[in-house]
């Protein structure tokens, strides 16, 4: 069966434009969200970041800081900014179906 696409307009979002309900998230939706915020086709490296962020959120109820992310996921700062241009922490969180990170670093 073809992966179904969701009408993004029907999804409930929070005030920052991130998914309001984490249950709405699917890997297919992540790809759609990636297109909508100009990240384009998700490759293996994007998925390393997305999966790491989802795991961390599960454990700590907040997205990891960029410092923690780059140290533990094996994706360097430079690569992170290439994968998610113009605001990596926010965009990665959005695509991963998580709220905007609370930290400053």
């Amino acid at each position: 069966m073809e992966p179904s696409t969701v009408d993004l307009k029907t999804l409930e979002l929070d005030k920052n434009g991130h998914l309001a309900n984490r249950e709405d998230w699917t890997p297919n939706l992540a790809q759609q969200l990636a297109y909508s915020c100009e990240v384009g086709d998700l490759n293996d490296r994007h998925w390393v970041v997305i999966n790491y962020m989802r795991d961390e959120f599960e454990k700590n109820d907040d997205a990891p800081s960029i410092r923690k992310l780059t140290k533990q996921s094996g994706v360097s700062t430079k690569e992170l900014y290439q994968l998610f241009p113009k605001g990596p922490a926010k965009k990665a969180a959005k695509i991963a179906g998580l709220p905007k990170p609370k930290g400053c670093i």
């Binding site: 960029i66 923690k68 430079k78 113009k86 605001g87 990596p88 926010k90 400053c104 670093i105």
Partner: protein
Amino acid sequence: MKTNAETFESNVAETLPKPIEKVSIIISKGSLEGVYPGLIMANGARMEGIEATLFFTFFGLDAVIDKRMDNLKVATVGNPAMHIPTMIGGLPGMSSFATHKMKEEMEKIDIPPVREFLEMIHDTGAEIYVCKATVDMFHLEKDDFCEFVDEIITVGDFYEKSAGAEVIFT
């Protein structure tokens, strides 16, 4: 012809404040608490997709001088917000103690040490410059600075590179 609704919408679009696209942050102080706000703002800008340039001047240069950047200290004298009487703040070891405590607290909230932070900021694509007048005044050379410094530039160059940016002095 535009409908009323369209005219209203275009008026709203015109009056909405424009998001910041670029910042140029000047760091002029060499104490730990004088350096970090600028670093955090530069990194924070990049995280939001805003272009950032860092310009170090006067005592701010200590934050990018290879031999000094790992040993910046918190100033414990002349700062009422430290809530330490000036005479006590001046005792030997007070500054080292306060620095140690502050670094501990920063590590807890994942703020990296100066050198690592500068590398991180540089890797985000931000440019890092030092002020030529200060370099001349303190008889420094390019080799005295850490590898993340892109160039020694004049104040004129700084303004040129800051075209279209919000300039923030710290």
